[in-house]
């Protein structure tokens, strides 16, 4: 029963693992940036009183928040290519699923952040003669975004964890590299332990930062 741990095969494959880390980070960053960008528009549409904007945005957000992200990725990889006008590879499928998922969650953060700003701010900006987009850009968003930062960073943490699901459709991120190496080297124990540790090293610092920011924010209000 005594098992001798042997990490030499893990170290020998460090180049492959590093490539996996790189692909994980690339996928995470791409999805975070697109999610933050489009989330603002979807959030604004959700906030809008015009039903033409409000209802499609709401449907989009509910669908992506209420289905498992793995199902979204698998759908974009196996189902979507049949009707897609362009070629889908593992990266685009994972990026589409994760970006849209992040867009949906970020839009809710924007919406909640904007709603948390006192109505008086809108009224004061209006009294100064600003139109809607100026009120939003110059008065509301600068205040709201500061409040949203911990929530966005939380999303980044979640997103980093979700990128590991791209391994299911064979995108060469960290988890997939580990799977491949462990079948070649027959070292699932060391390999999956190492991978868990690498993910922890990538994600935990951000998680700690979020906790710090949150408690600082709570202390201020």
């Amino acid at each position: 029963m005594e098992y001798t741990w042997d990490f030499s095969a893990v170290l020998a494959n460090r180049q492959l693992l590093l490539l996996g880390v790189r692909n994980t980070v690339v996928l995470g960053l791409v999805c975070l940036v697109t999610g933050l960008f489009f989330g603002l528009f979807v959030g604004a549409a959700r906030y809008s009183r015009n039903p033409v904007f409000h209802w499609p945005a709401t449907a989009f957000v509910e669908v992506f928040r209420n289905t498992p992200v793995l199902v979204q990725i698998v759908w974009f990889f196996f189902a979507f290519p049949i009707i897609s006008p362009f070629e889908i590879n593992a990266f685009t499928a994972a990026a589409l699923g994760l970006s849209l998922n992040t867009t949906a969650f970020c839009s809710e953060i924007y919406r909640a952040g904007i709603q948390s700003i006192d109505r008086g701010q809108w009224e004061a900006a209006k009294a100064l003669g600003m139109d809607y987009s100026r009120q939003m850009r110059r008065i509301i968003l600068p205040q709201a975004i500061r409040r949203m930062i911990p929530a966005f960073m939380n999303r980044a943490v979640e997103l980093m964890k979700m990128t590991s699901l791209a391994s299911v459709i064979a995108y060469g991120e960290l988890m997939h590299q580990a799977k491949t190496i462990s079948t070649i080297e027959f070292n699932p124990i060391e390999m999956y332990t190492a991978v868990a540790l690498i993910f922890f090293a990538l994600i935990y610092p951000v998680a700690v930062l979020v906790q710090r920011l949150e408690s600082r924010f709570r202390a201020r209000t």
Binding site: M1, Y3, E62, V63, R65, N66, T67, P68, V69, L70, V71, Q72, V74, W75, F78, A79, F80, I82, I83, P85, V157, M160, K161, M162, T163, S164, L165, S167, V168, M175, A178, K179, S182, P188, I189, Y192, T193, V195, A196, F199, F200, I203, Y204, A207
Partner: protein, 226 residues
């Protein structure tokens, strides 16, 4: 782009998908059953344990929260059996992983709820002669649990979404069933769309229930949800 949609094929195998849903709910239910009490235990140890217990418990919680669940699942399915020399089937590995994984999140929900209770409650309980255990059981937890309900249910919904990972170790949940139907019928577009639809109906239903409850609790002024 003239694609001929044909959902008929999918609905012929609908009972397989429903069987998958039963399996999904089974894993979720069992993970809740084990994860919640374990979460409470972890929370109490992290809050009130001596440092030699508190510190490792804290590390375990943070580790489980900061690593992808799929990495944990693979570890318990592929690595653990070799380590302990016991065969673990996909079902057991899934229940084990998700019980532990969710217990870490539930621990944080419990901890948040407990520390949100005003210090005065502790002091008042002490003043009428209660020791810490009794205060916790009779005064603090009953109030904290009520406040935790929304956060708690949100975690349960997250858990249900996370359990789709069990399909990767060939446990027959909805996604796994969808995959096998897609392979035999070549109708992946319809099959995966229906599978997503099934998840949506179940999870959105739960979400609506939670929101309703949240509104109800917010009215009675007993919630930490923001």
């Amino acid at each position: 782009m003239g694609y001929d949609w044909d959902f008929g094929i999918v609905f012929r195998d609908f009972d397989l998908l429903m069987l998958g849903l039963v399996n999904t709910l089974k894993v979720t239910g069992l993970a809740l059953l084990f994860g919640v009490p374990l979460g409470l235990l972890l929370a109490l140890l992290r809050l009130y344990g001596v440092w030699i217990v508190r510190v490792p418990v804290g590390i375990v919680i943070e580790f489980l929260r900061s690593t992808p669940p799929i990495a944990q699942l693979f570890w318990f399915f592929f690595a653990l059996p070799i380590l302990i020399g016991v065969e673990i089937d996909p079902f057991r590995a899934s229940v084990l992983t998700f019980s532990l994984q969710s217990s870490a999140f539930f621990a944080e929900v419990f901890r948040g709820g407990i520390i949100s209770i005003d210090r005065g409650q502790w002091e008042a309980a002490k003043a009428i002669g209660m020791d810490r255990n009794r205060t916790l059981r009779r005064i603090i937890l009953p109030q904290a649990v009520k406040r935790m309900i929304p956060a708690f249910l949100e975690r349960a919904i997250e858990l249900m979404k996370t359990t789709t990972l069990v399909s990767t170790i060939s446990y027959a949940d909805v996604l796994y069933q969808a995959n096998s139907i897609a392979q035999s019928t070549y109708r992946s577009l319809e099959v995966f769309t229906v599978a997503a639809g099934i998840y949506f109906v179940v999870i959105f239903g739960c979400s609506l229930g939670v929101r309703q409850l949240e509104r109800h609790l917010a009215r009675s002024g007993e919630t930490t949800a923001h």
